[in-house]
């Protein structure tokens, strides 16, 4: 499943890069996106023997990407500080795009991760549990709490869905 030649690696990268980049971008932003993407694929390559095919390669890669993002944020000391982004935004000036961006920043790290994986990456609850090494029930409860928080914030901005 995991390749061992340059051409195969390229195929492997092309098949999974969008998923990995998508998750990393929504979790850590664009500044370190390229560096972290490189790190994820290098780690995946170095530890390819650990992948035993018990789950999909994409699930395993999401897991590696998530761990890289966590490591980066730990080192940088950049866990989200909910509250500040929403309060600093002016009511009328923000576009829907900015609102979505702020919604994600307003969520705690745990909630943001499940929201990104569920709504943006469209992964099923079971797979999210595998990626984050948590129970399905925990995924569901985090999703429910995050949804509640996002609904409240959207109401504050006058967004009706």
């Amino acid at each position: 499943m995991i390749p061992n030649r340059a051409a195969d690696f390229e195929k492997f990268y092309e098949a999974h890069a969008d998923k990995v980049r998508g998750l990393l971008f929504r979790l850590v932003g664009s500044e370190v996106l390229s560096d972290l993407t490189q790190e994820v694929f290098m780690k995946a390559w170095q530890h390819r023997d650990d992948f035993r095919g018990e789950s999909h390669a994409s699930t395993w890669l999401y897991r590696v990407a998530y761990n890289c993002a966590i490591d980066f944020l730990r080192k940088a000391g950049e866990r989200s500080a909910p509250g500040k982004f929403w309060q600093n935004s002016l009511e009328k000036e923000v576009s829907h795009r900015q609102i979505v961006e702020m919604l994600l920043l307003e969520l705690s790290w745990d909630h943001r991760t499940v929201v990104v994986l569920y709504y943006f990456e469209e992964r099923p609850v079971r797979e999210i549990g595998e990626i984050l090494s948590i129970a399905e029930g925990t995924v569901k409860s985090r999703l429910s709490q995050a949804r509640q928080k996002m609904t409240e914030l959207l109401k504050m901005k006058g967004v009706e869905l």
């Binding site: 340059a6 690696f9 390229e10 990268y13 092309e14 890069a17 969008d18 980049r21 998508g22 971008f25 929504r26 664009s30 996106l33 390229s34 993407t37 490189q38 694929f41 290098m42 390559w45 576009s95 829907h96 795009r97 609102i99 979505v100 961006e101 919604l103 929201v115 709504y119 943006f120 949804r147 996002m150 609904t151 959207l154 967004v159 869905l161």
Partner: protein, 99 residues
């Protein structure tokens, strides 16, 4: 608010993911290849040091008991000789007093 409408709203208004640099896969592959000689040189160095350390430990460890062993053997032999001499002496005395 339904879950689908929230999902549609988030996806529709999400920031677009920046384009990857061209030839990103090739760049990553080359980087991994560059790192390999460093890694194997490091592995070679570590394994050499560990082998030398193991050989040294084995040499020291095996040398010590041999010394002790030979000392013990010598001591036991001396004790045995003394005991035999004592027994022989007792026996001779007993033999003399009997006859």
């Amino acid at each position: 608010m339904s879950d689908d409408s929230l999902k549609n709203y988030l996806r529709k208004n999400a920031q677009e993911i920046p384009e990857a640099r061209p030839q990103e896969a090739v760049r990553i592959w080359n980087r991994m290849q560059q790192m390999q000689p460093v890694k194997s040189a490091w592995r070679w160095w570590v394994s050499s040091v560990m082998t030398a350390a193991a050989a040294l430990i084995a040499f020291v460890y095996l040398r010590q008991p041999q010394k002790i062993e030979s000392l013990e053997e010598e001591h036991l032999y001396r004790e045995w000789t003394e005991m035999v001499q004592e027994v022989d002496a007792d026996f001779e005395q007993e033999y003399v007093s009997t006859f």
